[in-house]
């Protein structure tokens, strides 16, 4: 079965200027991820994982090469065009949760729906919060929630608009192991339910092992694909 390719890169390079001269962060990365796949990007610190994620999500611009999401060449769009595309097709879960501190849990989940002009934002957000078992904490502010709860809100926020692709950057990095595992369970559960493509950056082999594919980065270069253990 040849599934639809949702994330695709061609010859992706990222170089930055540093006081010691030009620094290569990514070097000729080619990858394609099919719809519904779960993929882990693994590698040591400084191997370029986060840089790659930033480029895949269109948060940063490559020095060379192409990225397309759902067939749309990201860098043929301007920054606003990419923002629109993210709003329509992409969800995020971050290591530092990135909830808006002044918004309640419910309002944080509503935010992407509101930005998209959805009138059923509250209803959808309530349903998703229910789904992550935080309905009773809907009116709490992030600082009143534990780390695990905050990440569940972030996951609810990411899934609420039904994105095609979900990028997760070290989603358990700030959590203890047990909480982390519960978060991962939730992530995979929702992923399965919605048929979302999941791209996960992690250095946790345990977490990476739960993905269908693992891509290893080393000094900016994609190594051979590791088979799931």
């Amino acid at each position: 079965m040849t599934a639809e390719i949702v994330v695709n890169t061609q010859n992706l390079h990222k170089r930055v200027m540093s006081p010691e001269g030009e620094l290569t962060l990514l070097q000729g990365v080619d990858l394609s991820i099919a719809a519904g796949e779960t993929v882990a990007i693994v590698g040591a610190s400084g191997s370029g994982k986060s840089t790659l994620l930033g480029l895949l999500a269109g948060l940063d611009e490559p020095t060379e090469g192409q990225v397309s999401i759902a067939g749309q060449d990201l860098f043929a769009l301007d920054e606003d065009g990419r923002a629109r595309l993210r709003g329509e097709k992409v969800g995020f879960v971050f290591q530092a949760f990135q909830l808006l501190p002044n918004l309640t849990a419910l309002e944080n989940v509503m935010l992407p729906l509101e930005l998209a002009g959805r009138h059923d934002a509250r209803q959808v957000a309530e349903e998703v919060l229910q789904r992550v078992a935080l309905a009773e904490r809907a009116s709490h502010y992030p600082k009143q929630l534990s780390g695990g709860e905050q990440q569940r809100v972030a996951i609810a926020r990411a899934f609420a608009p039904h994105p095609q692709v979900l990028f997760a950057d070290e989603p358990t990095g700030n959590l203890d192991r047990r909480t982390g595992e519960r978060i991962i369970d939730l992530l995979f559960q929702l992923n399965a339910e919605q048929g979302t493509t999941l791209v996960l950056v992690t250095h946790d082999p345990h977490l990476a092992a739960r993905c269908q594919r693992q891509l290893e980065l080393d000094e900016g270069q994609l190594q051979m694909e590791l088979e799931p253990s």
Binding site: G54, L59, D60, R86, F92, Q98, L115, A116, G117
Partner: protein, 830 residues
């Protein structure tokens, strides 16, 4: 897509979270202080102007050499104005065998519309204020006239064809002062109803008709607008500012003081809003990055913030206006009885001004930096070290400074004042930048010395140079404003009060004949009054300028026409009179005595277009003489001393008919001296300027009181700036304290480092603020208030002291709670 509801929801959420409260509070206080100052100013202004109008007998006077047309009175009545008429002309009156030339004034019912006459029940008895003028069939005469005629109250005086009974002794008229020095003839007051029967008014009579008007300022303005363009020669419109230069100066100066106070509030408003915005922005960098991550376009983010700001600005302005009105109203409750004046209802202008101030301040100081938020790098969600906004200070605050200048111009209605304030602000910013830059240079070599703690501290200050600069700007601007009002204001006000010392002349003696000089001096000495200097006075009419006959119609201004229409009082003197200063040309030397040269007062010269070297030809009792202008003088008209537009050297005017004039201070309890003087020297006219003097003094006192009260609001605004400044960098400080405590810093170490930092910042900002306040004070003292002011070390020292103590204490108290927060909570929240 309509973003309004979303923006409102966001505003609601931000508000609920307390994010916008400092910003809103800064704005509310700013608008409240500007509004209350303006409510207050507009009311005080109306009250003072009304009070000053007593000197005119009305709010506006229409003057004509022909009888007042009925339609003018009708028009005034139609506009809801009160009116009264007076008819004035010189005539002879008789009593038995004696006769005397009098300045007769017939007044209608209702006269005077403003102020009151004072009368005594018989000659030399105590006087009291009375309402209205003499009833038909009666007259009021001054004591000098009654003494000359040998009549007292109850006896009759023949005026033209009829006899009128003297009903009271007139001691003071509210509007006596206008051109009074020319009225050598004593005053007789009668009712206009009796005028036709006297048969005195003939077609060729030299009569001045006046229509006095009083009432609503808008209607007065309307009349002025309607009548001014159609005035023919012989007609004019006068308000108190035309009539009384001393009062005009006092009123203008008072308005400038209040404008200064209001301006400083505007300045503080901008500073407070800018400071509050800084914190708002630093807190919203992440939010913006996340929203962009979640699909928000730049334009959408801009729109969301813009709508939020507009709504916030509107709400805060409305609240501020309300608070300002309440504050002003409460102030009036206890100020009005103190000032002894009835205050008219405030005008609506301050409401508009408050709204404009609120919106312009917010749009100028908050919106440009907030709109830069849209440029925050989206990648910040992954890498937190990215983008602090590389905010260009000029583009972010340039608009704010521009907006401030617009507000200043709007508020000051005085270009010099506005320019001085704006230049002062720029001076502060420049000095602060230099000081901060210098400080960092100084610190650089210190980095390598001392222990770990010291190194950390020094490196920290350098690292946070931007943040230190922000605080210094906030504190510096706040302290400058406070010092400007606290110290400079005090010095300026006392300088102003000193202009009119308690013993300023309050009585003038006019028409002293040369052969009476010694007798008058002896008389005064015998009465225990130190004989004052007596000034010679020659009456002359100006006929030619540079040999060319003057055509009044060719003169540009009404004042110029009036000046040439009446006789000049020329004087001579060896030395420049005190209170006068030569501004161009040079005063004569003894060798110049008798030369045909003169010194002219500068405003007269300006009005008539005269300069050094021009010649003036005067007619003295039918004889012409020509003299060249050798110097121009500036006169301090507020001194209430006898002053002359034109002065000649000794020896030029001696041959003409001369009389002498003098002014001196007579305490109220020695009033009887004047009665004896009038009896002994009936030809000498005594002019009582105590009323005007007190009027001006009252105005000064009330303005000073008003400025003192307005100052309270400015202090509040200043404290708000301090508060906002401390808050602007609070987040960075909290995070830093948490890190330091995690690394093992003790609470006491952190506390003393915070104290030291704020005290140092306060010391430096205080010095810079004081230098700027002194410079602004000096400029506005000279340019705007026409007063002398020299800032000294006392100002700089108090600036440093106030800065160090005030900022030190406020900063420490404001950030102390940082130390009580568990570090983990702070770090986790970060």
């Amino acid at each position: 897509m309509n973003h309004f509801p979303l923006a409102l929801r966001h505003l609601h959420r931000e508000w609920r979270a307390g994010e916008l409260k400092v910003l809103a509070m800064a704005l509310i206080i700013a608008v409240a202080s500007v509004t209350s100052v303006n409510f207050f100013t507009s009311r005080i202004h109306q009250a003072l102007a009304g009070q000053a109008n007593e000197l005119l007998g009305g709010d506006l006077v229409y003057l004509s050499d022909r009888a007042i047309k009925a339609q003018r009175v009708a028009r005034a009545t139609e506009l809801g104005l009160q009116s009264a008429t007076t008819v004035e002309f010189p005539t002879m009156v008789l009593a038995g065998e004696r006769n005397q030339l009098v300045a007769l004034k017939a007044v209608s019912a209702g006269y005077p519309l403003r102020g009151q006459n004072r009368t005594a029940p018989r000659l030399f008895a105590a006087d009291a204020a009375v309402t209205g003028g003499p009833a038909p069939g009666t007259v009021w005469g001054g004591s000098r006239l009654l003494t000359i005629l040998g009549v007292d109250v109850g006896e009759k005086i023949t005026v033209g064809n009829i006899d009128l009974k003297v009903a009271a002794v007139l001691t003071s008229e509210p509007d006596q002062s206008e051109g009074v020095l020319l009225n050598i003839a004593p005053r007789l007051l009668m009712h206009t109803d009796d005028l036709p029967d006297t048969g005195l008014i003939q077609p060729a009579s030299r009569v001045v008709y006046r229509l006095l008007l009083a009432g609503d300022a808008e209607a007065i303005g309307q009349i002025r607008q309607e009548w001014q363009p159609g005035l023919r020669p012989g007609e004019s419109l006068l308000d108190v500012q035309d009539a009384r230069p001393e009062v005009r100066t006092a009123l203008k100066r008072g308005e400038h003081f209040l404008a200064l106070a209001a301006l400083v509030s505007v300045l503080l408003a901008g500073a407070a809003v800018a400071m509050a915005t800084r914190r708002f922005i630093s807190r919203h960098l992440d939010n913006c990055a996340i929203m962009r991550c979640l699909g928000a376009e730049q334009a959408m983010i801009s729109r969301l913030y813009l709508i939020q700001m507009a709504v916030l600005g509107l709400l805060a302005s409305v609240v501020g206006i309300f608070v300002g009105y309440l504050a002003q109203w409460g102030l009036m409750l206890f100020l009005a009885p103190l000032a002894g004046i009835e205050l008219p209802a405030p005008s609506l202008w301050p409401v508009a001004l408050g709204l404009i101030t609120g919106m312009v301040t917010l749009l100028g100081f908050a919106v440009p930096p907030i709109l830069q938020l849209k440029n925050v790098p989206t990648l910040r969600v992954l890498r937190r070290d990215l983008g602090g906004l590389q905010a260009n200070a000029l583009s972010a605050y340039g608009i704010g400074i521009l907006a401030f200048m617009v507000l200043v111009l709007f508020q000051a209605q005085n270009l010099k004042l506005a320019v001085a304030i704006v230049a002062g602000l720029l001076l502060v910013l420049l000095m602060l930048a230099l000081v901060a830059g210098g400080l960092l240079l100084l610190l650089r070599p210190l980095r390598k010395k001392g222990g770990a703690a010291w190194r950390f501290g020094v490196v920290n200050i350098s690292r946070r140079s931007g943040h230190s600069l922000v605080q210094m700007v906030g504190f510096g601007v706040g302290l400058m404003a406070l010092l400007l009002l606290a110290v400079v204001r005090g010095d300026l006000l006392s300088e102003w009060e000193n202009r009119l010392p308690a013993d300023a002349p309050n009585r003038f003696l006019i028409n002293i004949q040369p052969d009476q000089l010694e007798d008058v001096r002896d008389f005064l000495r015998a009465e225990g009054v130190e004989p004052p200097l007596l000034y010679p006075m020659v009456r002359a009419r100006l006929e030619q300028i540079n040999g060319k006959a003057i055509v009044p119609d060719e003169l540009k201004t009404d004042r110029a026409k009036r000046l040439v229409a009446r006789e000049f009082n020329l004087s001579w003197a060896e030395a420049v009179q005190s209170g006068n200063a030569v501004v161009s040309g040079s005063w004569w030397q003894p060798g110049d005595y008798g030369k045909a040269i003169i010194s002219v007062e500068q405003s007269l010269a300006k009005e008539l277009g005269l300069g050094l070297g021009d010649t003036l030809t005067y007619n003295v009792a039918g004889e012409l003489f020509t003299a060249e202008i050798s110097s121009l003088r500036r006169i301090n008209w507020e001194s209430f001393k006898a002053n002359f537009f034109v002065v000649a050297p000794p020896g030029l005017l001696d041959k003409y008919p001369v009389n002498y004039i003098t002014g001196f201070y007579l305490p109220a309890e020695q009033h009887a001296v004047l009665n004896r003087m009038v009896q002994q020297f009936p030809n000498i006219m005594v002019l009582d300027v105590a009323t005007i003097l007190n009027q001006v003094r009252d105005i000064i006192e009330q303005v000073i009181m008003a400025v003192e009260y307005v100052f309270i609001f400015t202090v509040l605004a200043g404290l708000m700036v301090m508060y906002a400044t401390i808050h602007a960098t609070l987040d960075e400080r909290i995070r830093e304290a948490a890190v330091l405590r995690t690394l093992g810093a003790r609470r006491s170490q952190l506390l003393s480092s915070i104290m030291l930092e704020y005290t140092g910042l306060g010391l430096l900002s205080g010095l810079v603020g004081a230098i700027a306040a002194g410079a602004i004070g000096m400029v506005i003292a000279k340019q705007v208030f026409d007063l002398a002011y020299l800032p000294g070390p006392a100002l700089w020292l108090s600036g440093m002291l106030i800065g160090a103590v005030g900022v030190g204490v406020a900063g420490t108290l404001g950030t102390r709670f940082v130390l009580n927060q568990p570090p983990l909570k702070t770090l986790r929240g970060a």
